[in-house]
């Protein structure tokens, strides 16, 4: 163990925090799913990679926030900062007829620097391809969805889709890294000020 500590071969990234709340002015009774997308050189060591939250109702106050406070806790190990983990959040909720409909997809990179961070992700959904589709999808309660929510974490293939913004999700992260500096990756902001 001591030998491993002396000459690390991987660095660790520990992320905990929570999916705090969401702002979806037009919708209520939402729940969210999250998952992590990361590159080839990353592997989760502990914690949950995916999760699904409880259903929350709108706060009655003026802000009308939808609060989940859904905890995230995961540790990654990696050998390469390329493919830094992203959290992909997708929000679902029932529509007028009680069908479960997606209300937004969004993704954000886990912050690079250790410390506490808050991120607000704009959420979007794919649009129907035509007016007629839109009407039927509303009638049938089957809105267009991504085949895989992880699509939003990648840049490829976006040119074929149209999306519409729906709201925001706020996530707080507490990030701890280990051995990054030892392996030559300087990410802490204090080092940037006085190198």
């Amino acid at each position: 163990m001591a030998a491993a500590a002396a000459a690390p071969t991987v660095f660790l990234l520990m992320v905990n925090g929570q999916i705090e709340s969401a702002q979806f002015p037009a919708f209520d009774e939402l729940y969210c799913k999250y998952c992590f997308v990361y590159g080839h050189d990353w592997a989760p060591t502990t914690g949950l990679e995916e999760g699904i939250s409880q259903i929350t109702c709108k706060n009655r106050d003026a802000q009308q926030a939808l609060v989940w406070n859904f905890p995230i806790d995961i540790t990654f190990k990696s050998t390469n900062p390329s493919g830094w983990p992203q959290i992909v959040v997708s929000v679902y909720g029932p529509d007028l007829f009680g069908n479960d409909v997606v209300r937004g997809y969004g993704a954000v990179h886990v912050p690079f620097t250790p410390g506490s961070h808050r991120r607000t992700i704009p959420m979007f959904v794919p649009e129907s391809t035509s007016k007629l589709q839109k009407i039927t999808s509303w009638l049938m309660g089957r809105h267009p969805e991504f085949t895989d929510p992880k699509v939003v974490a990648q840049g490829e293939g976006r040119e074929v889709i149209t999306v519409r913004s729906q709201g925001f999700v706020t996530i707080s992260f507490n990030v701890v890294t280990k051995d990054m500096k030892k392996l030559g990756y300087d990410v802490s902001p204090s080092d940037m000020q006085n190198p």
Binding site: H40, S137, P144, L183
Partner: protein, 1447 residues
């Protein structure tokens, strides 16, 4: 009050309780509090309620009365109110207090404000308050630092601010050293950067008014056009050609040459004199000398000063020397000229040189001279001294070293003397001789006399002698030229020749002649005066300006002397301001003249003896000026620079710093620098930083403009490692390879972070593959041609895979978004209809299982389910020693073979055979990916197992993506074995007490199904023909005619055994179809077909798909080059090999079978496996025969083409078959019935054969049409193949779209190489050897004996088998072997395969399990026979047998 009664009453009760508590004491005791929280309250009587109400009222009244004085009894109030905390239904106004508005008088307010507020004064703050004490204000700008312009603030505001800040703590921090408030430079730009906003209502300022102009057509669509619609010739370039001087001309006489030289030298002299470097340097030297002196006096020596001083002296000396030599040369040339004039007795040039002497004061001059020399001597001595000291130092250290060494030597010597006195001398000598360093020599001190002499010598050489007058040469043209009549004849001739010659100049603009000067005679002094100005009206941007000098001789030819380019002037060079510049030219023409003229390029000499030859070339100078003209209104006629596209070095042009000062396009950097100096640009202003840098780069000579153009000039800055470093690093390489999706690294996880953790092994496979790409591995292929083909296929595969990888990154909407289809009316109706369906139908249909997307799978998740149901007609064991006569079956006709009704076949066997029949115990073993499962053994030739076997599936590299799954090449082997029990009991007496049997398994046959088929079909359900070798030693195919049931009678007609299986994958995987579609989009436009035809094809296909979505319809296919080709182009009669036709000249049926066999012998290579399910590539028949590998389509096309050339009616069938899936078969019309041919194994079936593997027919294709099956059924048994009926078959070409006569892509004729029997024989030997080695290898624990006798017997059988195509074999192999081998128990069989590679052969032998026999005395026999067909098609027979000696 709206609360419900129940709530109200509880509240009431609580209040009561509380009140009761308060009445007794103000605070409840602990007990009471406990009670309050735990006690269950009983309803209290009503009267208390009233009391509380009155109480409450009184309290609220009291509040109002008390008003402000409430605070006095706050605690009490609180306690009072505590009770009211529970009263929610109290009104808001109960808590409100109404008070009168407060007012304070104005003076009072002012008073108060004065206490709080501070008003800074508007008076100027004295400077002393603003700067730190005892400090003078310091003005940075005066010190030369850039301060920038301060933003404008009104003085009063500034004063107010200053006053306020000074009152603050540490207020002085806000003031700079100059006593002003700190401020950033004014951010306001001098000009507006935002376009002005017009408001249409208000009056528009005249200069901003927009004018309507009609659009004008540009005159020339040329990139060099300058004008933007303005009238032509608005731009004007003035070229002033004033004259021309020759520095050498062929007609120069020797005197002219000297004169030219003299003139040149004199020019040089004048230039030098103007510079007067010597004077400059001498002055500098004096100054430096003083400086050195003073520094010496003050504080030691300043080395820098001395160094500079010495440097300067050296420079001065050099300059002086140059001056002196120049002067000397001038005088020498002049003297030469004079002597020449004297010699030739005439003068040609008016040149005269005067040497003006300037007398100097001898004494003072001498004094200065001496002083100079003395000073120099002293300095030199000093220098030498220094050097000496340095050397001395060195010497001393060296000496020290030498001495210490010497000492060491001595001590050593002493020691040695003590040790051994005998060898003393010898050793001492040796050591000294070898190692002694040279004794350093002390440096010499410089001799002052010597130095003086040196200095004096030098001075004499380079300087004027003291007292000598200063010589100043002056050149004048005042001399007289000797008239013609006094000259010798040769000279006269020369002069006449000169007179005959005349010159003119051509002006070429953009390499086009625009004008030329008038022709002028060359004057005797070789000057030509033109004095012409050309006004070039241009509208093309000048790319080049060129002058050509032409010489005319008399009336004869004109001769191009030289060309020269004139630089295009700067935009700032305008007429009137342009200077005349001299441009030199020279010509390399060789001219030899027969008179006094020296010629050009001809060596000549001034000496009488002809030594010192020199060669001169025609050269000269043109003086001209080029400038831009100024128009009438003073506007320069210069084209817009922004359109300039000249070859000005782009690096300079790219930096648009110049544009920032409003004069873009200025390319003369020196002028720019001058301008910058004149305008006193502040070099510290950040605004000018670009410009300053540009000027610095341009004016400093060393920072040269790069000679290349870099596309991304900043790229280098962002490279974090150089390319070499990237290539060297294994880690970077690994990352790059993974990014490129190279197969080996595509899904490599966790690339190690440190270089040392990456092992070389990682790259081994990849590098091996790269190496082997070009190396033909003959070991695996045995045959050079096949190795080549394999290589070619590998390359095709790679290119297709690359194409596929690009397609993978090409997304369609359906890949990303799941969207519901808009339901059509029909669908809606159907779904309504579905509601009425019975919930539990009597005949339930198989429900589709849920499909699993492949990505979230891992090892062990997927299983292959193989359900072995039953088998028919398994060969049975033959009793030993039964000899049977069998009729030869080779003469049956088609009618007999395919008759729908069974023709009665009379049993020819003896009756007692049925009684003798020995049963079989067949079991099935399924092997897949090295996992083996077996069923239990069943009884009899028609066993019924009904067992489910589960085999795990592992994807290659754990990659469960669709692509990876598509490329799985593994096959499912279903082997049928017979379990034989042998009694090994040695002693009969023990039979009662023990069982000693040995179990042997005998291979009977196999079925192989590729995994890809299962993957694409999702399930395989059907009866397959078992691949049973034509001969199974010890077994016979028995037709059990004992029980004559109708079912059996139908079945018995087809020979062979069958097995019914059901195979599927659990869970169901989604076969990756969209890829194909995408590739189709990518390839769509890559075609040479007619657009109309393609549209029709698309339409046809869409129509067909709408009607019968499950039926295959093909109109266009992709050829091997990736181009779309119409399918009928593949069908064309092609000649089969003549040898095959010769074999059966009269029997067309046999010939057809032979041809089919030939086709089936071409190795099979499914596209869908090799090309990862992307697309079918159809190769033409000749390509197919060259490659010797292809899939069903190629086989079918070739067979169809052969049949057509044999005069049969043949079509291609596109349909579904088991187990291939979508496939191509061939349909022929033979003797009033349709026959279906399976091209991949050469078998044929009647239309009504129930065991035909073809399950459905999608369309038929002939050379001129496509027919799509629009009948109700698609099973070949149930459809009508009469394509002439449009109700049954929808044809592609019809009356509305007639067949356009498409040319075929097939070759005219197929050419076959002759059979190479020797090569086949050699291959045969090698394969036999390899197989024998392999069998021995598989039996590591046993000795493998080979029975040679049996082998040779087997070898005799094989050619016979080939001859009868393995169909009509003599069944008496067994008997013959028995006869020859005596009491061996033989079990074995021949295996037949088309030859492609050795590996499949080995696999096939291994899968039979012959080698697994465990008997210690078993012997083996193995024989290989290769029959060669034309075009290197090989049929391989392997006869393998095991022999056990009977006891």
């Amino acid at each position: 009050i709206e609360t419900s009664f129940a709530e109200f009453s509880i509240r009431e009760r609580m209040r009561e309780k509380l009140k009761a508590a308060r009445v007794q004491t103000d605070f409840p005791s602990a007990e009471e509090a406990y009670k309050f929280f735990t006690f269950s309250f009983d309803p209290d009587p009503e009267n208390i309620k009233d009391e509380t109400k009155s109480k409450k009222k009184s309290e609220s009244n009291q509040e109002e009365e008390e008003g402000e004085e409430q605070e006095c009894d706050e605690e009490d109030c609180l306690v009072n109110n505590r009770e009211d905390l529970f009263i929610i239904d109290q009104m808001a106004r109960d808590f409100l207090v109404v008070k009168p508005a407060e007012y304070k008088s104005y003076s009072e307010r002012l008073q108060k404000e004065r206490e709080i507020l501070f008003t800074p004064s508007i008076l100027t703050v004295p400077m002393s308050q603003k700067v730190p004490e005892n400090m003078q204000p310091r003005y940075i700008e005066d010190e030369g630092l850039y301060t920038g312009e301060r933003p404008i603030v009104s003085l009063s505001n500034q004063n107010i601010l200053e006053n306020r800040i000074l009152r603050q703590e540490q207020g002085k921090r806000w003031f700079g050293d100059d006593g002003k408030l700190l401020a950033l430079p004014s951010p306001i730009k001098q000009y507006s950067t935002r376009p002005p906003i017009f408001s249409l209502e208000e009056g528009i300022e005249p200069e901003l008014e927009t004018l309507y102009r009609k659009a004008m057509k540009p005159m020339h669509a040329n990139q060099y056009i300058v004008g933007s619609g303005d009238p032509q010739g608005q731009f004007q370039l003035d070229i002033d050609i004033s004259g021309l001087i020759f520095t050498h001309h062929p007609c120069f006489s020797r005197e002219h040459v000297l004169a030219a030289k003299l003139a040149q030298l004199y020019d040089q002299y004048l230039a030098r004199r103007q510079q007067n470097l010597t004077k400059l340097l001498t002055d500098k030297l004096h100054a430096l000398r003083n400086a050195v002196q003073s520094s010496l006096d003050n504080s030691g020596t300043s080395f820098l000063h001395i160094y500079i001083y010495r440097q300067t002296r050296r420079l001065r000396d050099a300059e002086q020397e140059k001056d002196r030599t120049l002067l000397k040369t001038i005088i020498k040339v002049w003297k030469e000229m004079k002597s020449l004039r004297d010699f030739q007795k005439f003068t040609n040039t008016p040149m005269k040189l005067y040497l003006r002497k300037e007398e100097v004061d001898q004494r003072s001059d001498k004094k200065i001279y001496e002083a100079e020399i003395q000073a120099e001597i002293n300095e030199l001595l000093e220098e030498y001294m220094e050097e000496y000291e340095k050397k001395m130092e060195e010497y001393k250290t060296e000496l020290q070293e030498w001495k210490s060494w010497k000492k060491a030597q001595k001590t050593k010597k002493k020691k040695k003397i003590k040790q051994s006195q005998d060898q003393e001398e010898e050793e001492a000598e040796n050591s000294e001789y070898v190692e002694e360093p040279v004794k350093p020599i002390p440096p010499k001190l410089a001799d002052s006399l010597e130095v003086e002499q040196q200095v004096r010598e030098k001075a004499i050489n380079i300087r004027r002698k003291p007292g000598e007058p200063v010589l100043i040469p002056e050149l004048s043209l005042t001399g007289s030229v000797t008239p013609n009549d006094l000259c010798p004849r040769a000279e006269v001739l020369r002069r006449e020749d000169v007179k005959k010659r005349s010159l003119f100049l051509k002006v070429l603009f953009n390499t086009k002649e625009v004008s030329r000067t008038i022709s002028r005679q060359i004057s005797s002094d070789f000057r030509v005066h033109f004095g012409q100005i050309f006004n070039l009206k241009i509208f093309n941007w000048p790319e080049s300006l060129k002058l050509q000098i032409y010489e005319t001789m008399g009336f004869s030819s004109t001769n191009l002397l030289a060309e020269m380019f004139i630089p295009v002037p700067e935009t700032t060079v305008l007429t009137g301001r342009a200077r005349t510049e001299e441009i030199e030219f020279s010509s390399n023409q060789r001219v030899m003249l027969d008179h006094e003229g020296v010629g050009s390029g001809v060596p000549f000499s001034f000496e009488a003896d002809g030594s010192n030859k020199i060669t001169l070339m025609t050269s000269g100078k043109v003086s001209s000026s080029v400038s831009w003209a100024i128009g009438e209104n003073g506007v320069p006629l210069i084209p817009l620079v922004s359109q300039q596209k000249t070859g000005i070095p782009s690096a300079l042009k790219n930096i648009d710093a110049v544009a920032s000062i409003g004069t873009s396009g200025v390319t003369d950097m020196k002028k720019l620098a001058k301008w910058a100096a004149e305008t006193k640009l502040d070099p510290n202003d950040p605004k000018n930083a670009d410009l300053m840098q540009l000027i610095m780069v341009a004016t400093s000579g060393d920072a040269c403009v790069p000679g290349f153009f870099r596309l991304e000039q900043l790229q280098q800055e962002f490279n974090f490692a150089s390319d070499e470093e990237l290539n060297r690093s294994k880690r970077f390489q690994l990352l790059q390879l993974r990014h490129r999706e190279v197969a080996e690294f595509r899904n490599y996880k966790q690339v190690p972070l440190l270089e040392r953790e990456i092992t070389e092994k990682l790259f081994e496979n990849y590098e091996k593959r790269l190496r082997e790409r070009d190396v033909i591995d003959s070991k695996d292929h045995l045959d050079a041609h096949r190795a080549l083909v394999a290589k070619y296929l590998q390359k095709v595969r790679e290119s297709v895979i690359n194409r596929f990888l690009t397609a993978k990154h090409h997304f369609l909407l359906s890949d990303l978004v799941n969207e519901e289809e808009v339901p059509s009316l029909g669908n809606l109706g159907l779904s309504l209809f579905k509601l009425a369906e019975p919930k539990r139908p009597l005949k339930p249909r198989r429900k589709e299982r849920k499909k699993v997307t492949a990505q979230n799978l891992s090892d062990g998740d997927i299983n292959l389910l193989v359900n072995i149901i039953r088998a028919y007609d398994i060969p049975v064991r033959k009793p030993v020693l039964s000899k049977l006569q069998q009729p030869s079956r080779s003469s049956r006709s088609f009618n007999e073979m395919f008759a729908a009704s069974p023709s009665p076949q009379s049993p020819t066997r003896s009756i007692d055979w049925t009684f003798n029949q020995v049963l079989v115990h067949p079991f099935v073993e399924v092997s897949f990916q090295r996992t083996v499962c077996r069923t239990t053994a069943a009884e009899g030739p028609n066993p019924n197992w009904n067992e489910e076997l589960e085999l795990p599936f592992r994807a290659p590299n754990g990659d469960y993506s669709t692509t990876s799954l598509q490329s799985v090449k593994d096959e499912v082997f279903i082997n049928i074995f017979d379990e034989v029990l042998y009694d090994v009991l040695e002693d009969d007496r023990e039979r009662g007490s023990g069982i000693h049997t040995r179990v042997e398994r005998h291979w009977l046959g196999s079925v192989r199904i590729p995994f890809s088929t299962i993957y694409f079909q999702t399930r395989i359900d059907g009866t397959f023909k078992i691949d049973i070798p034509p001969v199974l030693l010890g077994y016979s195919k028995e037709k059990n005619l004992g029980n004559e049931r109708s079912y059996d009678s139908v079945r018995s007609l087809s020979e062979g055994s069958y097995i019914t299986v059901f195979i599927t994958i659990e869970p169901q995987l989604i076969p990756g179809d969209p890829v194909r579609e995408k590739l189709y989009y990518l390839l769509k436009f890559d075609t040479q077909e007619d657009e109309k035809l393609l549209q029709a094809a698309e339409k046809y296909q869409a129509e067909c798909a709408l009607k019968f979505p499950s039926r295959q319809c093909l109109t266009t296919v992709v050829d091997i080059n990736g181009k779309t080709v119409f399918i009928t182009r593949y069908i064309k009669p092609l000649n089969p090999p003549q040898e095959l036709l010769n074999g059966h000249p009269n029997n067309s049926q046999a010939a057809a079978e032979l041809v089919a066999r030939y086709v089936s012998l071409i190795p099979f290579l499914p596209d869908s496996v090799s090309f990862a399910g992307i697309c079918d590539l159809w190769s033409t028949s000749d390509q197919f025969l060259d490659l010797l590998a292809g899939d069903e389509e190629e086989h079918a096309v070739l067979l169809c083409n052969y049949f057509l050339s044999m005069g049969k009616k043949a079509w291609l069938i596109i349909g579904n078959a088991i187990p291939e899936g979508t496939t191509a078969y061939v349909l022929t019309w033979e003797q009033n019935q349709y026959v279906i041919w399976n091209p991949s194994n050469g078998r044929c079936y009647g239309q009504f054969d129930t065991f035909c593997p073809l399950q459905s027919v999608g369309c038929l294709i002939s050379f001129d049409n496509i027919w799509f099956n629009i009948q109700q059924y698609d099973s070949p048994v149930r459809i009508n193949f009469d394509i002439s009926k449009p109700k049954l078959w929808k044809s592609f070409f019809s009356q509305s779209l007639p067949y356009p006569g498409l040319s075929s892509v097939q070759p005219e004729e197929l050419i076959y190489q002759h059979i190479d029997k020797a090569a086949a024989l050699e291959l045969q030997g090698r394969i036999e050897k390899i197989l024998k080695e392999k069998i021995m290898e598989w039996r590591p624990r046993h000795l493998t004996r080979w029975n040679r006798y049996c082998t040779s017997t087997l070898r005799h059988f094989l050619p016979l088998l080939e001859q009868f195509q393995g169909k009509a074999v003599e069944d008496d192999h067994q008997a013959e072997l028995q006869k020859q081998l005596g009491d061996y128990r033989v079990s074995g069989f021949p295996i037949h395969m088309p030859f492609s590679e050795v590996k499949p052969l080995i696999e096939a032998v291994h899968s039979t399990g012959v080698h697994t026999i465990d008997v210690s005395n078993a012997e083996f026999a193995l024989a290989v026979y290769i029959h060669a067909y034309p075009k290197n098609v090989l049929s391989v027979w392997i006869y393998i047998a095991s022999l056990v000696r009977n006891r």
